[in-house]
Assembly symmetry: D2
Homo-oligomer: 139 residues x 4
Protein backbone atom coordinates (compact mmCIF):
# COMPACT_ATOMS: atom_id res chain seq x y z
CA UNK A 1 0.00 0.00 0.00
CA UNK A 2 1.40 3.46 -0.86
CA UNK A 3 2.13 5.99 1.88
CA UNK A 4 -0.57 8.44 3.01
CA UNK A 5 -0.46 11.87 1.41
CA UNK A 6 -2.14 13.63 4.34
CA UNK A 7 -1.14 13.71 8.00
CA UNK A 8 -3.45 13.25 10.99
CA UNK A 9 -4.14 16.96 11.51
CA UNK A 10 -5.16 17.48 7.86
CA UNK A 11 -7.25 14.30 7.94
CA UNK A 12 -9.14 15.41 11.04
CA UNK A 13 -9.85 18.77 9.40
CA UNK A 14 -11.12 16.97 6.29
CA UNK A 15 -13.38 14.70 8.35
CA UNK A 16 -14.83 17.52 10.44
CA UNK A 17 -15.42 19.83 7.48
CA UNK A 18 -18.59 17.77 6.88
CA UNK A 19 -21.58 19.22 8.77
CA UNK A 20 -22.97 15.71 9.37
CA UNK A 21 -19.65 14.54 10.80
CA UNK A 22 -19.50 17.61 13.03
CA UNK A 23 -23.02 16.85 14.29
CA UNK A 24 -21.96 13.25 14.97
CA UNK A 25 -18.92 14.50 16.91
CA UNK A 26 -16.42 12.26 15.09
CA UNK A 27 -12.80 12.14 16.29
CA UNK A 28 -9.76 10.79 14.44
CA UNK A 29 -8.18 8.14 16.66
CA UNK A 30 -5.39 6.81 14.46
CA UNK A 31 -4.08 7.26 10.94
CA UNK A 32 -1.56 4.64 9.84
CA UNK A 33 -0.33 3.44 6.47
CA UNK A 34 -2.57 0.39 6.68
CA UNK A 35 -5.65 1.69 8.43
CA UNK A 36 -7.58 4.59 9.87
CA UNK A 37 -9.61 4.60 13.11
CA UNK A 38 -12.39 7.10 13.80
CA UNK A 39 -14.41 7.39 17.03
CA UNK A 40 -18.15 8.09 17.19
CA UNK A 41 -19.41 9.18 20.60
CA UNK A 42 -22.88 8.18 21.71
CA UNK A 43 -25.76 10.63 21.67
CA UNK A 44 -29.47 10.23 22.38
CA UNK A 45 -30.56 11.08 18.81
CA UNK A 46 -28.70 8.02 17.44
CA UNK A 47 -31.17 5.61 19.00
CA UNK A 48 -33.21 3.46 16.63
CA UNK A 49 -35.79 2.05 19.00
CA UNK A 50 -37.24 3.70 22.10
CA UNK A 51 -37.43 0.45 24.08
CA UNK A 52 -34.35 -1.58 23.13
CA UNK A 53 -32.43 1.71 22.68
CA UNK A 54 -29.74 0.35 20.33
CA UNK A 55 -27.92 2.63 17.88
CA UNK A 56 -29.57 3.06 14.46
CA UNK A 57 -28.30 0.88 11.61
CA UNK A 58 -28.05 3.95 9.39
CA UNK A 59 -25.55 5.43 11.83
CA UNK A 60 -23.48 2.23 11.77
CA UNK A 61 -23.65 2.28 7.95
CA UNK A 62 -22.43 5.87 8.03
CA UNK A 63 -19.45 4.88 10.17
CA UNK A 64 -18.59 1.90 7.91
CA UNK A 65 -18.79 4.11 4.83
CA UNK A 66 -16.73 6.96 6.19
CA UNK A 67 -14.01 4.77 7.73
CA UNK A 68 -13.57 2.97 4.39
CA UNK A 69 -13.81 6.25 2.46
CA UNK A 70 -11.16 8.03 4.55
CA UNK A 71 -8.83 5.03 4.30
CA UNK A 72 -8.90 5.70 0.54
CA UNK A 73 -8.82 9.49 1.05
CA UNK A 74 -5.58 9.15 3.03
CA UNK A 75 -3.93 7.81 -0.15
CA UNK A 76 -5.34 10.53 -2.44
CA UNK A 77 -5.53 13.64 -0.25
CA UNK A 78 -9.27 14.16 -0.87
CA UNK A 79 -12.59 12.51 -0.06
CA UNK A 80 -13.91 10.13 -2.71
CA UNK A 81 -17.51 9.54 -3.87
CA UNK A 82 -19.01 6.23 -2.75
CA UNK A 83 -20.20 4.13 -5.70
CA UNK A 84 -21.79 1.44 -3.53
CA UNK A 85 -21.45 -0.10 -0.10
CA UNK A 86 -22.46 -3.14 1.93
CA UNK A 87 -22.96 -3.40 5.67
CA UNK A 88 -23.38 -6.52 7.80
CA UNK A 89 -24.83 -6.07 11.27
CA UNK A 90 -23.49 -8.41 13.95
CA UNK A 91 -24.56 -7.08 17.35
CA UNK A 92 -26.56 -4.19 18.81
CA UNK A 93 -24.65 -1.12 20.02
CA UNK A 94 -26.14 0.12 23.27
CA UNK A 95 -26.50 3.63 24.73
CA UNK A 96 -23.41 5.26 26.17
CA UNK A 97 -20.96 3.20 24.15
CA UNK A 98 -18.38 4.99 22.03
CA UNK A 99 -17.89 3.16 18.73
CA UNK A 100 -14.70 2.87 16.69
CA UNK A 101 -14.81 2.63 12.89
CA UNK A 102 -11.67 1.12 11.36
CA UNK A 103 -11.10 1.34 7.61
CA UNK A 104 -8.55 -0.33 5.36
CA UNK A 105 -7.94 -0.20 1.60
CA UNK A 106 -8.28 -3.58 -0.14
CA UNK A 107 -7.41 -2.45 -3.66
CA UNK A 108 -6.44 1.03 -4.84
CA UNK A 109 -7.12 1.38 -8.56
CA UNK A 110 -7.00 4.32 -10.93
CA UNK A 111 -10.76 4.32 -11.56
CA UNK A 112 -12.15 2.70 -8.42
CA UNK A 113 -10.88 1.59 -5.02
CA UNK A 114 -12.33 -1.09 -2.75
CA UNK A 115 -12.05 -0.63 1.02
CA UNK A 116 -13.41 -2.46 4.04
CA UNK A 117 -14.31 -1.36 7.54
CA UNK A 118 -15.44 -2.59 10.92
CA UNK A 119 -17.38 -0.94 13.74
CA UNK A 120 -16.40 -2.12 17.22
CA UNK A 121 -16.90 -1.17 20.83
CA UNK A 122 -13.82 0.16 22.58
CA UNK A 123 -13.34 -3.30 24.18
CA UNK A 124 -13.04 -4.78 20.66
CA UNK A 125 -16.50 -6.36 20.41
CA UNK A 126 -17.51 -6.43 16.74
CA UNK A 127 -20.76 -4.52 16.03
CA UNK A 128 -20.82 -4.28 12.22
CA UNK A 129 -18.56 -4.79 9.20
CA UNK A 130 -18.71 -3.99 5.54
CA UNK A 131 -17.07 -2.69 2.42
CA UNK A 132 -17.48 -0.11 -0.27
CA UNK A 133 -16.31 0.86 -3.73
CA UNK A 134 -15.10 4.43 -4.25
CA UNK A 135 -14.54 6.48 -7.38
CA UNK A 136 -10.85 7.44 -7.57
CA UNK A 137 -10.77 8.78 -11.15
CA UNK A 138 -12.59 12.04 -10.35
CA UNK A 139 -10.68 14.86 -8.94
Amino acid sequence: MPANVVDAAAMERLILSSPFHAWLGLRLVELGTDHIAIALPWREELIADPTARYTHGGILATLIDLAADYAVAAKLGRGVPTIDMRVDYHKAALPGEELIGRGRVIKLGRTVATAEATVSKTDGTLIASGRGVYLTSAG
Copy 2:
Protein backbone atom coordinates in the same frame (compact mmCIF):
# COMPACT_ATOMS: atom_id res chain seq x y z
CA MET B 1 -47.77 -10.39 -1.28
CA PRO B 2 -49.91 -10.69 1.91
CA ALA B 3 -51.95 -7.72 3.15
CA ASN B 4 -50.43 -5.25 5.61
CA VAL B 5 -51.21 -5.86 9.27
CA VAL B 6 -50.80 -2.21 10.29
CA ASP B 7 -52.54 0.87 8.95
CA ALA B 8 -50.92 4.18 8.03
CA ALA B 9 -51.48 5.83 11.40
CA ALA B 10 -49.89 2.92 13.31
CA MET B 11 -47.02 2.79 10.81
CA GLU B 12 -46.29 6.49 11.23
CA ARG B 13 -46.26 6.07 15.02
CA LEU B 14 -43.87 3.10 14.67
CA ILE B 15 -41.54 5.09 12.37
CA LEU B 16 -41.51 8.16 14.58
CA SER B 17 -40.99 6.21 17.82
CA SER B 18 -37.32 6.08 16.81
CA PRO B 19 -35.38 9.08 18.17
CA PHE B 20 -33.16 9.13 15.06
CA HIS B 21 -36.21 9.17 12.78
CA ALA B 22 -37.75 11.97 14.83
CA TRP B 23 -34.53 13.98 14.50
CA LEU B 24 -34.60 13.35 10.72
CA GLY B 25 -38.22 14.55 10.59
CA LEU B 26 -39.47 11.56 8.58
CA ARG B 27 -43.06 11.54 7.29
CA LEU B 28 -45.07 8.60 6.00
CA VAL B 29 -46.24 9.48 2.49
CA GLU B 30 -47.96 6.28 1.40
CA LEU B 31 -48.54 2.77 2.68
CA GLY B 32 -49.84 0.34 0.10
CA THR B 33 -49.91 -3.44 -0.17
CA ASP B 34 -46.98 -3.38 -2.54
CA HIS B 35 -44.88 -0.52 -1.27
CA ILE B 36 -44.25 2.14 1.34
CA ALA B 37 -43.06 5.72 0.72
CA ILE B 38 -41.39 7.84 3.39
CA ALA B 39 -40.30 11.48 3.02
CA LEU B 40 -37.07 12.91 4.43
CA PRO B 41 -36.97 16.73 4.57
CA TRP B 42 -33.68 18.49 4.08
CA ARG B 43 -31.74 19.96 6.97
CA GLU B 44 -28.34 21.60 7.14
CA GLU B 45 -26.79 18.88 9.35
CA LEU B 46 -27.30 16.27 6.59
CA ILE B 47 -24.62 17.82 4.38
CA ALA B 48 -21.57 15.69 3.63
CA ASP B 49 -19.29 18.28 2.13
CA PRO B 50 -19.09 21.98 2.96
CA THR B 51 -18.38 23.02 -0.64
CA ALA B 52 -20.44 20.71 -2.86
CA ARG B 53 -23.11 20.56 -0.12
CA TYR B 54 -24.68 17.27 -1.19
CA THR B 55 -26.51 15.05 1.30
CA HIS B 56 -24.37 12.51 3.19
CA GLY B 57 -24.27 8.96 1.85
CA GLY B 58 -24.94 7.64 5.35
CA ILE B 59 -28.25 9.51 5.36
CA LEU B 60 -29.19 8.02 1.98
CA ALA B 61 -28.21 4.58 3.33
CA THR B 62 -30.44 5.22 6.34
CA LEU B 63 -33.39 6.03 4.06
CA ILE B 64 -32.80 2.94 1.89
CA ASP B 65 -32.59 0.75 4.98
CA LEU B 66 -35.67 2.11 6.71
CA ALA B 67 -37.86 2.14 3.59
CA ALA B 68 -37.01 -1.52 2.96
CA ASP B 69 -37.35 -2.37 6.66
CA TYR B 70 -40.80 -0.78 7.03
CA ALA B 71 -42.01 -2.48 3.85
CA VAL B 72 -41.34 -5.73 5.72
CA ALA B 73 -42.64 -4.31 9.01
CA ALA B 74 -46.00 -3.55 7.34
CA LYS B 75 -46.43 -7.30 6.82
CA LEU B 76 -45.43 -8.28 10.36
CA GLY B 77 -46.63 -5.42 12.54
CA ARG B 78 -43.19 -4.73 14.02
CA GLY B 79 -39.78 -3.43 12.98
CA VAL B 80 -37.29 -6.09 11.94
CA PRO B 81 -33.52 -6.22 12.57
CA THR B 82 -31.38 -5.62 9.48
CA ILE B 83 -29.00 -8.51 8.79
CA ASP B 84 -27.19 -6.76 5.93
CA MET B 85 -27.81 -4.10 3.32
CA ARG B 86 -26.41 -2.71 0.09
CA VAL B 87 -26.68 0.80 -1.27
CA ASP B 88 -25.82 2.08 -4.76
CA TYR B 89 -25.36 5.81 -5.19
CA HIS B 90 -26.49 7.27 -8.51
CA LYS B 91 -26.62 11.04 -8.16
CA ALA B 92 -25.93 13.72 -5.55
CA ALA B 93 -28.89 15.07 -3.55
CA LEU B 94 -28.59 18.82 -3.15
CA PRO B 95 -29.64 21.18 -0.34
CA GLY B 96 -33.30 21.99 0.04
CA GLU B 97 -34.52 18.88 -1.74
CA GLU B 98 -36.99 16.64 0.04
CA LEU B 99 -36.18 12.99 -0.64
CA ILE B 100 -38.61 10.09 -0.93
CA GLY B 101 -37.60 6.57 0.11
CA ARG B 102 -39.74 3.85 -1.45
CA GLY B 103 -39.52 0.27 -0.14
CA ARG B 104 -40.91 -2.99 -1.49
CA VAL B 105 -40.69 -6.58 -0.25
CA ILE B 106 -39.00 -8.95 -2.72
CA LYS B 107 -39.39 -12.16 -0.70
CA LEU B 108 -41.04 -12.62 2.68
CA GLY B 109 -39.71 -15.74 4.37
CA ARG B 110 -40.20 -17.20 7.82
CA THR B 111 -36.57 -16.67 8.85
CA VAL B 112 -35.47 -13.79 6.62
CA ALA B 113 -37.05 -11.32 4.20
CA THR B 114 -35.41 -9.49 1.31
CA ALA B 115 -36.63 -6.00 0.43
CA GLU B 116 -35.48 -3.29 -1.95
CA ALA B 117 -35.72 0.48 -1.89
CA THR B 118 -35.04 3.60 -3.90
CA VAL B 119 -34.35 7.18 -2.89
CA SER B 120 -35.66 9.78 -5.33
CA LYS B 121 -36.27 13.48 -5.53
CA THR B 122 -39.92 14.54 -5.56
CA ASP B 123 -39.68 14.97 -9.36
CA GLY B 124 -38.76 11.27 -9.63
CA THR B 125 -34.99 11.65 -10.26
CA LEU B 126 -33.24 8.57 -8.90
CA ILE B 127 -30.65 9.37 -6.21
CA ALA B 128 -29.83 5.95 -4.72
CA SER B 129 -31.12 2.38 -4.68
CA GLY B 130 -30.41 -0.74 -2.71
CA ARG B 131 -31.65 -3.76 -0.85
CA GLY B 132 -31.43 -5.45 2.51
CA VAL B 133 -32.07 -8.71 4.28
CA TYR B 134 -34.16 -8.62 7.46
CA LEU B 135 -34.61 -11.13 10.27
CA THR B 136 -38.26 -12.16 10.43
CA SER B 137 -37.98 -15.13 12.81
CA ALA B 138 -37.40 -13.01 15.93
CA GLY B 139 -40.22 -11.44 17.76
Copy 3:
Protein backbone atom coordinates in the same frame (compact mmCIF):
# COMPACT_ATOMS: atom_id res chain seq x y z
CA MET C 1 -33.16 4.60 -21.17
CA PRO C 2 -31.34 4.96 -24.54
CA ALA C 3 -32.01 2.52 -27.37
CA ASN C 4 -29.94 -0.65 -27.72
CA VAL C 5 -26.99 -0.46 -30.11
CA VAL C 6 -26.96 -4.20 -30.89
CA ASP C 7 -29.75 -6.41 -32.20
CA ALA C 8 -30.72 -9.84 -30.90
CA ALA C 9 -28.55 -11.80 -33.33
CA ALA C 10 -25.43 -9.81 -32.47
CA MET C 11 -26.23 -10.07 -28.75
CA GLU C 12 -26.57 -13.85 -28.93
CA ARG C 13 -23.23 -14.08 -30.75
CA LEU C 14 -21.64 -11.88 -28.04
CA ILE C 15 -23.10 -14.02 -25.24
CA LEU C 16 -22.05 -17.31 -26.82
CA SER C 17 -18.54 -16.14 -27.68
CA SER C 18 -17.72 -16.88 -24.03
CA PRO C 19 -16.53 -20.48 -23.54
CA PHE C 20 -18.22 -20.64 -20.11
CA HIS C 21 -21.52 -19.45 -21.58
CA ALA C 22 -21.24 -21.99 -24.38
CA TRP C 23 -20.65 -24.75 -21.80
CA LEU C 24 -23.72 -23.51 -19.86
CA GLY C 25 -25.78 -23.62 -23.07
CA LEU C 26 -27.22 -20.11 -22.65
CA ARG C 27 -29.91 -18.89 -25.04
CA LEU C 28 -31.10 -15.32 -25.64
CA VAL C 29 -34.85 -15.24 -25.02
CA GLU C 30 -35.64 -11.56 -25.42
CA LEU C 31 -33.83 -8.29 -25.97
CA GLY C 32 -35.93 -5.18 -25.39
CA THR C 33 -35.13 -1.55 -24.70
CA ASP C 34 -35.85 -2.05 -21.02
CA HIS C 35 -34.63 -5.56 -20.34
CA ILE C 36 -32.88 -8.67 -21.56
CA ALA C 37 -33.87 -12.28 -20.82
CA ILE C 38 -31.44 -15.20 -21.08
CA ALA C 39 -32.29 -18.88 -20.56
CA LEU C 40 -30.06 -21.37 -18.75
CA PRO C 41 -30.96 -25.02 -19.37
CA TRP C 42 -30.42 -27.55 -16.60
CA ARG C 43 -27.50 -29.93 -16.63
CA GLU C 44 -26.29 -32.49 -14.11
CA GLU C 45 -22.97 -30.70 -13.45
CA LEU C 46 -24.81 -27.64 -12.07
CA ILE C 47 -25.92 -29.48 -8.95
CA ALA C 48 -24.61 -28.20 -5.63
CA ASP C 49 -25.60 -31.04 -3.34
CA PRO C 50 -25.85 -34.74 -4.20
CA THR C 51 -28.89 -35.32 -1.97
CA ALA C 52 -31.04 -32.17 -2.23
CA ARG C 53 -29.85 -31.76 -5.86
CA TYR C 54 -30.54 -28.01 -6.12
CA THR C 55 -28.60 -25.83 -8.57
CA HIS C 56 -25.34 -24.34 -7.27
CA GLY C 57 -25.44 -20.78 -5.92
CA GLY C 58 -22.40 -19.92 -8.02
CA ILE C 59 -24.39 -20.77 -11.14
CA LEU C 60 -27.26 -18.54 -10.03
CA ALA C 61 -24.72 -15.78 -9.30
CA THR C 62 -23.33 -16.26 -12.80
CA LEU C 63 -26.79 -15.83 -14.30
CA ILE C 64 -27.53 -12.71 -12.22
CA ASP C 65 -24.20 -11.19 -13.23
CA LEU C 66 -24.47 -11.92 -16.92
CA ALA C 67 -28.11 -10.82 -17.25
CA ALA C 68 -27.25 -7.48 -15.60
CA ASP C 69 -24.02 -7.20 -17.59
CA TYR C 70 -25.68 -7.80 -20.97
CA ALA C 71 -28.45 -5.33 -20.14
CA VAL C 72 -25.64 -2.74 -19.96
CA ALA C 73 -23.84 -4.27 -22.96
CA ALA C 74 -26.95 -3.78 -25.10
CA LYS C 75 -26.55 -0.02 -24.59
CA LEU C 76 -22.80 0.03 -25.34
CA GLY C 77 -22.29 -2.69 -27.92
CA ARG C 78 -19.68 -4.55 -25.87
CA GLY C 79 -19.42 -6.56 -22.65
CA VAL C 80 -18.45 -4.57 -19.56
CA PRO C 81 -16.20 -5.60 -16.64
CA THR C 82 -18.04 -6.27 -13.39
CA ILE C 83 -16.77 -4.08 -10.55
CA ASP C 84 -18.87 -5.77 -7.87
CA MET C 85 -22.11 -7.68 -7.53
CA ARG C 86 -24.63 -8.86 -4.95
CA VAL C 87 -26.89 -11.88 -5.07
CA ASP C 88 -29.83 -12.75 -2.81
CA TYR C 89 -31.03 -16.34 -2.83
CA HIS C 90 -34.76 -16.85 -2.37
CA LYS C 91 -35.60 -20.44 -3.28
CA ALA C 92 -33.82 -23.61 -4.42
CA ALA C 93 -33.81 -24.39 -8.16
CA LEU C 94 -34.39 -28.08 -8.72
CA PRO C 95 -33.12 -30.49 -11.40
CA GLY C 96 -34.66 -30.28 -14.83
CA GLU C 97 -35.84 -26.70 -14.47
CA GLU C 98 -34.80 -24.20 -17.09
CA LEU C 99 -34.00 -20.86 -15.47
CA ILE C 100 -34.52 -17.39 -16.92
CA GLY C 101 -32.20 -14.51 -16.01
CA ARG C 102 -33.72 -11.07 -16.60
CA GLY C 103 -31.50 -7.98 -16.48
CA ARG C 104 -32.36 -4.28 -16.46
CA VAL C 105 -30.21 -1.14 -16.30
CA ILE C 106 -30.88 1.03 -13.23
CA LYS C 107 -28.44 3.83 -14.05
CA LEU C 108 -26.19 4.19 -17.07
CA GLY C 109 -23.27 6.48 -16.25
CA ARG C 110 -20.14 7.43 -18.16
CA THR C 111 -17.80 5.74 -15.66
CA VAL C 112 -20.01 3.08 -14.10
CA ALA C 113 -23.45 1.59 -14.64
CA THR C 114 -25.70 -0.12 -12.11
CA ALA C 115 -27.96 -2.94 -13.27
CA GLU C 116 -30.24 -5.43 -11.56
CA ALA C 117 -31.36 -8.94 -12.40
CA THR C 118 -33.63 -11.75 -11.34
CA VAL C 119 -33.48 -15.51 -11.83
CA SER C 120 -36.87 -17.20 -12.16
CA LYS C 121 -38.34 -20.50 -13.19
CA THR C 122 -40.29 -20.48 -16.45
CA ASP C 123 -43.53 -20.32 -14.40
CA GLY C 124 -42.31 -17.05 -12.88
CA THR C 125 -41.28 -18.34 -9.44
CA LEU C 126 -38.49 -16.13 -8.13
CA ILE C 127 -35.26 -18.05 -7.39
CA ALA C 128 -32.67 -15.30 -6.88
CA SER C 129 -32.22 -11.56 -7.41
CA GLY C 130 -29.35 -9.14 -7.30
CA ARG C 131 -27.47 -6.25 -8.79
CA GLY C 132 -24.05 -5.26 -9.99
CA VAL C 133 -21.91 -2.29 -10.87
CA TYR C 134 -20.15 -2.32 -14.25
CA LEU C 135 -17.28 -0.28 -15.63
CA THR C 136 -18.48 1.69 -18.64
CA SER C 137 -15.49 4.03 -19.10
CA ALA C 138 -13.16 1.36 -20.51
CA GLY C 139 -13.30 0.38 -24.08
Copy 4:
Protein backbone atom coordinates in the same frame (compact mmCIF):
# COMPACT_ATOMS: atom_id res chain seq x y z
CA MET D 1 -13.70 -18.80 17.14
CA PRO D 2 -14.80 -22.33 18.17
CA ALA D 3 -12.84 -25.39 17.00
CA ASN D 4 -13.76 -27.12 13.74
CA VAL D 5 -16.04 -30.13 14.08
CA VAL D 6 -14.79 -31.81 10.89
CA ASP D 7 -11.26 -32.77 9.89
CA ALA D 8 -9.61 -32.18 6.52
CA ALA D 9 -10.51 -35.59 5.05
CA ALA D 10 -14.21 -35.19 5.93
CA MET D 11 -14.18 -31.60 4.63
CA GLU D 12 -12.70 -32.65 1.29
CA ARG D 13 -15.34 -35.36 0.95
CA LEU D 14 -18.06 -32.79 1.73
CA ILE D 15 -16.68 -30.34 -0.85
CA LEU D 16 -16.33 -32.94 -3.59
CA SER D 17 -19.77 -34.48 -2.99
CA SER D 18 -21.10 -31.54 -5.04
CA PRO D 19 -21.24 -32.38 -8.77
CA PHE D 20 -20.37 -28.77 -9.68
CA HIS D 21 -17.33 -28.84 -7.38
CA ALA D 22 -16.23 -32.14 -8.86
CA TRP D 23 -16.51 -30.66 -12.37
CA LEU D 24 -14.45 -27.65 -11.21
CA GLY D 25 -11.80 -30.01 -9.81
CA LEU D 26 -11.61 -28.29 -6.40
CA ARG D 27 -8.94 -29.39 -3.91
CA LEU D 28 -8.79 -28.65 -0.17
CA VAL D 29 -5.45 -26.95 0.50
CA GLU D 30 -5.71 -26.12 4.18
CA LEU D 31 -8.25 -26.33 6.98
CA GLY D 32 -7.34 -24.37 10.10
CA THR D 33 -9.32 -23.03 13.04
CA ASP D 34 -9.29 -19.57 11.54
CA HIS D 35 -9.53 -20.21 7.82
CA ILE D 36 -9.97 -22.66 4.98
CA ALA D 37 -8.12 -22.62 1.64
CA ILE D 38 -9.47 -24.33 -1.48
CA ALA D 39 -7.70 -24.56 -4.86
CA LEU D 40 -9.43 -24.20 -8.23
CA PRO D 41 -7.39 -25.45 -11.19
CA TRP D 42 -7.75 -23.71 -14.53
CA ARG D 43 -9.72 -25.22 -17.36
CA GLU D 44 -10.66 -23.93 -20.80
CA GLU D 45 -14.41 -23.82 -20.09
CA LEU D 46 -13.90 -21.23 -17.32
CA ILE D 47 -12.99 -18.51 -19.80
CA ALA D 48 -15.32 -15.51 -20.00
CA ASP D 49 -14.03 -13.86 -23.15
CA PRO D 50 -12.51 -15.53 -26.21
CA THR D 51 -10.00 -12.72 -26.82
CA ALA D 52 -8.89 -11.51 -23.38
CA ARG D 53 -9.31 -15.09 -22.07
CA TYR D 54 -9.73 -14.16 -18.38
CA THR D 55 -11.66 -16.41 -16.00
CA HIS D 56 -15.43 -15.79 -15.76
CA GLY D 57 -16.67 -13.62 -12.89
CA GLY D 58 -19.31 -16.22 -12.07
CA ILE D 59 -16.53 -18.73 -11.41
CA LEU D 60 -14.76 -16.28 -9.10
CA ALA D 61 -18.10 -15.64 -7.35
CA THR D 62 -18.51 -19.40 -6.94
CA LEU D 63 -15.07 -19.65 -5.30
CA ILE D 64 -15.79 -16.69 -2.96
CA ASP D 65 -19.11 -18.23 -1.95
CA LEU D 66 -17.83 -21.73 -1.35
CA ALA D 67 -14.70 -20.66 0.55
CA ALA D 68 -16.86 -18.53 2.88
CA ASP D 69 -19.52 -21.25 3.11
CA TYR D 70 -17.06 -24.02 4.03
CA ALA D 71 -15.39 -21.80 6.63
CA VAL D 72 -18.81 -21.80 8.34
CA ALA D 73 -19.39 -25.48 7.53
CA ALA D 74 -16.18 -26.40 9.35
CA LYS D 75 -17.77 -25.08 12.56
CA LEU D 76 -21.11 -26.87 12.07
CA GLY D 77 -20.22 -30.12 10.30
CA ARG D 78 -22.54 -29.45 7.35
CA GLY D 79 -22.88 -27.10 4.38
CA VAL D 80 -25.05 -24.04 4.97
CA PRO D 81 -27.46 -22.28 2.58
CA THR D 82 -26.25 -18.92 1.29
CA ILE D 83 -28.71 -16.12 2.08
CA ASP D 84 -26.82 -13.48 0.12
CA MET D 85 -23.32 -12.69 -1.07
CA ARG D 86 -21.19 -9.86 -2.44
CA VAL D 87 -18.16 -10.10 -4.68
CA ASP D 88 -15.66 -7.38 -5.60
CA TYR D 89 -13.46 -7.96 -8.63
CA HIS D 90 -9.93 -6.58 -8.44
CA LYS D 91 -7.90 -8.10 -11.26
CA ALA D 92 -8.36 -10.49 -14.17
CA ALA D 93 -7.34 -14.13 -13.66
CA LEU D 94 -5.58 -15.43 -16.75
CA PRO D 95 -5.47 -18.89 -18.36
CA GLY D 96 -3.35 -21.54 -16.72
CA GLU D 97 -3.38 -19.93 -13.29
CA GLU D 98 -4.54 -22.01 -10.34
CA LEU D 99 -6.63 -19.87 -7.98
CA ILE D 100 -6.86 -20.16 -4.20
CA GLY D 101 -10.07 -19.28 -2.35
CA ARG D 102 -9.54 -18.47 1.33
CA GLY D 103 -12.55 -18.22 3.66
CA ARG D 104 -12.87 -16.99 7.22
CA VAL D 105 -15.83 -16.66 9.59
CA ILE D 106 -16.52 -13.08 10.72
CA LYS D 107 -19.45 -13.82 13.04
CA LEU D 108 -20.99 -17.18 13.88
CA GLY D 109 -24.56 -16.70 15.09
CA ARG D 110 -27.35 -19.13 15.90
CA THR D 111 -29.56 -17.98 13.03
CA VAL D 112 -27.05 -16.57 10.54
CA ALA D 113 -23.28 -16.43 10.10
CA THR D 114 -21.24 -13.88 8.18
CA ALA D 115 -18.04 -15.01 6.46
CA GLU D 116 -15.56 -13.40 4.09
CA ALA D 117 -13.28 -14.76 1.41
CA THR D 118 -10.57 -13.83 -1.05
CA VAL D 119 -9.49 -15.31 -4.37
CA SER D 120 -5.76 -15.04 -5.09
CA LYS D 121 -3.19 -16.40 -7.47
CA THR D 122 -0.69 -18.81 -5.93
CA ASP D 123 1.85 -15.96 -5.75
CA GLY D 124 -0.58 -14.06 -3.50
CA THR D 125 -1.91 -11.52 -6.06
CA LEU D 126 -5.46 -10.58 -5.08
CA ILE D 127 -8.04 -11.35 -7.79
CA ALA D 128 -11.37 -10.93 -5.98
CA SER D 129 -12.80 -10.59 -2.48
CA GLY D 130 -16.22 -10.71 -0.92
CA ARG D 131 -18.50 -11.88 1.83
CA GLY D 132 -21.70 -13.77 2.40
CA VAL D 133 -24.39 -14.44 4.96
CA TYR D 134 -25.28 -18.07 5.66
CA LEU D 135 -28.28 -19.65 7.37
CA THR D 136 -27.08 -21.56 10.44
CA SER D 137 -30.46 -22.25 12.09
CA ALA D 138 -31.53 -24.93 9.61
CA GLY D 139 -30.44 -28.50 9.94
